[in-house]
């Protein structure tokens, strides 16, 4: 249960971000309505009181002002249109500064204590580096360790570190720092410690070699070490981790302003062969999607990730100053079903719901860029298999199954759907109308995240629920019968245990594949879609990571020419 909290925090952060945006836009609305009123009340009251020439004079003045404004606006538009091609023409030189617009803001910079993907996004690969690297396909590569050996029984991992590594403060980075960082993580139970399992010992063999011994094989060890648990910190450095960061990465944390921005500056003494391309990168947080889009269109930010709804891109794709693209991710929009609930413990009802849902339509309504997902494992995770044809959209079959379960027009089925308001009301409304077609009356309740936590996550008092489970490698949810799905399958639990104990990768994937298929066949839940991040950037920007860029954003090789 404890490792589940990790996945929830981003959502909570999203919520605070959302409420922040509400306040901001309310304030702006109030402001605009006030000015609007002031403007309109002027001529109106004058018109009523004044008369004759005086009145006419005012009208003429008003018309002149209006004409001037219109002409100014037209000129402004024409002028801005005309200047853009010349800007585009030059392939130019690399800019000193680039600004990136993001959505979820971290509350502080303390990556050891503060969970949430917003922190991973800023700090990992840019400021702190993990022992094992991770590439854009979510696979492990060389990191601080240039290579590693695994014993045949997969219980001893020997890591060979790069030589001559330094932290940004000049301290050397060697096996001592690695061992200290990992041991501290386990000892003090810092964020992500539970991803390192079966650890027997972590020790330095020499200055450039670290040996991790396991009590039993753990196939996710390398992947875990490529994330937060594998980060290496300077043992001797003293700094306020909430606002400062001293790591070994290609960037330095120059400033952090809560809910506003993070400024990164190139680490001129980076130990690696390739230093960061752009000198200063500012990450700016926009809680409000419209504000973000406007900032992007006006050129005050060069990259916007994510463009919240792909429908928003219609105004960007037509503009040749911008490039719009999608990246894969591990966000699974899971329609959770209470497998222990009175109605949904019946597999026929669950299957009927899966047949009743038209995933294509849901994806199309969001702009058609998300991927269909037929099971619990997304394409970037090990064990992925396209399971979308297990339950294709089929209204008649859904009705049949419901009839077999004892529900028809005379005895209609009523179900509750409860989910957090961060996901918007559209999902609920769509599901309501799709399930109506097979005779299920869906009662949708959109609530605060804290209410959802209480009702669904803790008390399991729900029929259906919708959550974006954005974590990677999170199959444990289906092997844990106490999780809020209440899905309890011995077969799946065994397969998952086998996958963790597997000594080679293909074996691990095979077990996970079988387990995922079983979960999907049992209709333990429905997977509405696999969210794909839409990123928009200035056409002068190259090398911006598209995959998984909401949890990992390596910026060192990004270039921005003008």
């Amino acid at each position: 249960m404890s490792n589940t909290t990790q996945g929830d925090v981003p959502e909570e952060a999203a919520q605070t971000a959302a409420s922040g945006s509400t306040d901001a836009s309310l304030a702006s609305q109030r402001k605009s309505s006030r000015t609007g009123r002031a403007r309109t009340s002027g001529p109106g009251s004058d018109g009523g009181q004044g008369g004759g020439n005086h009145n006419r004079g005012k009208w003429i003045a008003g018309i002149i002002i209006a004409v001037v404004v219109v002409v100014a606006v037209i000129l402004g538009v024409v002028w801005s249109r005309r200047t853009t091609p010349s800007e585009n023409g030059a392939s130019g030189t690399t800019q000193e500064t680039m600004t990136v617009g993001l959505k979820l803001a971290p509350t502080n910079m303390d990556i050891r204590n503060q969970s949430g993907s917003a922190l991973d996004q800023v700090l990992i690969d840019n400021i702190y580096e993990p022992l094992v690297g991770r590439n854009a396909e979510n696979k492990t590569t060389a990191g601080l360790a240039k290579s590693w050996d695994v014993s045949d029984d997969a219980t001893t991992y020997t890591f060979h570190l790069n030589e001559g590594m330094t932290f940004s403060n000049g301290d050397a980075l060697d096996s001592e720092d690695v061992v200290w960082s990992l041991n501290q993580l386990l000892e003090k139970k810092y964020a992500g410690y539970d991803l390192l399992r079966n650890i027997d010992s972590i020790a330095a063999q020499d200055a450039n070699t670290v040996v991790i011994k396991l009590t039993a094989p753990y196939s996710d060890l390398l992947w875990s070490l490529s994330g937060r648990p594998g980060l290496v910190f300077d043992k001797d450095a003293q700094y306020d981790a909430k606002t400062e960061a001293i790591g070994s990465g290609p960037y330095l944390l120059k400033s952090f302003r809560e809910n506003d921005s993070v400024t990164l500056e190139r680490n001129e003494n980076y130990w690696g062969t390739k230093k960061a391309t752009i000198k200063t990168i500012i990450l700016r947080y926009y809680a409000d999607d419209n504000a973000a889009l406007n900032a992007f269109k006006s050129g005050s930010i060069q990259v916007l990730a994510p463009v919240m709804n792909a429908k928003m891109t219609s105004s960007l794709t037509s503009d040749d100053r911008f490039v719009v693209g999608q990246g894969d991710g591990t966000d699974k929009y899971v329609l959770g079903m209470n497998n222990k609930g009175t109605v949904l413990s019946n597999i026929k009802v669950r299957q009927a719901i899966r047949y009743a849902i038209n995933h294509d339509e849901i994806i199309a309504s969001r702009g058609g860029v998300d991927a269909a997902l037929g099971g619990p494992i997304p394409s970037l995770d090990p064990g992925y298999e396209d399971l979308t044809d297990l339950y294709p959209h089929n209204v008649n079959k859904a009705k049949e199954l419901l009839k077999e379960a004892g529900y028809d027009d005379d005895n209609p089925l009523t179900l509750r759907l409860e989910y957090a308001n961060t996901y918007g009301t559209e999902f609920g409304e769509q599901l309501k109308s799709q399930l109506k077609e097979v005779g299920i009356d869906l009662q949708v309740k959109v609530v605060e995240f804290s209410t959802w936590l209480q009702d669904v996550y803790t008390n399991h008092d729900y029929d259906l629920s919708l959550v974006d489970h954005n974590e990677s490698h999170d199959f444990y949810q289906w092997a844990d019968p106490t999780y809020y799905y209440g899905y309890d399958s011995k077969e799946v639990q065994d397969l998952y245990a086998k996958s963790l104990a597997a000594t080679d990768e293909s074996q691990q994937e095979e077990y996970l594949k079988q387990a995922a298929r079983k979960v999907s066949e049992d209709a333990a839940a429905d997977w509405l879609l696999n969210y794909r991040v839409t990123t928009a950037y200035d056409k002068g920007v190259t090398g911006f990571p598209m995959n998984l860029n909401q949890s990992r954003l390596p910026l060192a090789s990004v270039d921005y020419k003008k």
Partner: protein, 305 residues
């Protein structure tokens, strides 16, 4: 029985006269026409909308106006026109319930301020003033904790706030009436305090109250839109103008038209309600309404004879 019928006739002709006076002026006519259409749409939408409210077309979201969808579709692919029509019923419910609650609370507090005991009346005044200083949004946020997003939140928050306001505004009128000679006479003739309040004081307050309530009605619609935007108003799945507006608001820079429809609707109806309140005040205020003055003089002359 005969007395009742004649009284009813008199009351009806009085109301008719008031409406006639309102209709007489341009802004009053506008208000009456808009409010009439609103009621008509509410009745129609209760039985029929161009498209069923359960229909949604995910392949056709945020569509521009077309013959099939005269006002386009929203983010779920539902017909905007149908949902706005259905929303007018929800608004009417909110407005009616809010006004009734406000009137009730107003009357209760006025009766307290007129209480025999000076302490009770003092307490009522202090309580009114104190509660008035709490913003509607805060009341709504507190109520939303146990109730969740629901119509009840809007109705109670607005009803309480406007009711107290009402009590504050109508109080001088009520005190004036309560201290008048005719109330004194009625009391001397043996009528109870309660009877005196309902027969003599309340009728004096009703004109002020009805004007205030029609303004409350406009504000209630605005409050619905605002609170729904904050996520504590109308629950998901219920049609309302505020819900349509807040759903579209996040896409204002891409699909501005979808914000225009509910926005314009709210503006027009709220303006109409406010103008109606203004006209009503004119109609029932003898200082402004010369017809009323003439009638009063006639009565006076008649009684003088």
């Amino acid at each position: 029985m005969k007395g009742f019928r004649s009284r009813l006739r008199r009351a009806l002709s009085k109301i008719g006269g008031t409406f006639g006076y309102i209709w007489h002026r341009g802004e009053g006519r506008f208000a009456l026409i808009v409010l009439g259409i609103w009621l008509l749409v509410c009745i129609v939408a209760a039985f029929w909308t161009p498209e069923s409210l359960d229909t949604s077309d995910g392949y056709n979201t945020w569509a521009s106006p077309s013959p099939a969808h005269p006002l386009g579709t929203d983010g779920t692919g539902r017909d905007m026109l149908s949902w706005l029509m259905a929303g007018s019923g929800t608004e009417l419910q909110i407005v009616v319930a809010t006004c009734m609650l406000a009137a009730l609370i107003g009357i209760v507090f006025i009766s307290f301020t007129l209480a025999r005991s000076a302490l009770a009346s003092e307490i009522a005044v202090v309580v009114t003033d104190t509660l008035l200083s709490i913003p509607i949004v805060l009341i709504a946020l507190i109520l939303a904790v146990p109730l969740g997003a629901s119509l009840t939140v809007i109705i109670i928050a607005c009803g309480v706030s406007y009711g107290l306001n009402l009590a504050r505004i109508a109080k001088p009128q009520a005190v004036l009436a309560a201290n008048s000679r005719y109330v004194e006479a009625a009391r001397a003739a043996g009528s109870s305090r309660g009877r005196a309040f309902f027969r003599h004081v309340l009728p004096n307050v009703i004109p002020v109250m009805s004007v205030q309530l029609s303004i409350c009605a406009g504000t209630a619609i605005l409050a619905e839109a605002g609170l729904t935007y904050l996520g504590i108003g109308v629950p998901a799945g219920t049609a309302s103008w505020g819900a349509s507006l807040s759903a579209s608001a996040s896409f204002i820079s891409i699909f501005p038209l979808t914000v225009v429809w509910p926005g314009a609707l709210i503006t027009i109806v709220v303006v109409a309600l406010n103008l109606f309140g203004d006209s009503l005040r004119r109609a029932v205020d003898p200082v402004v309404n010369s017809q009323l003055r003439a009638a009063a003089e006639e009565v006076e002359r008649g009684s003088g004879k």
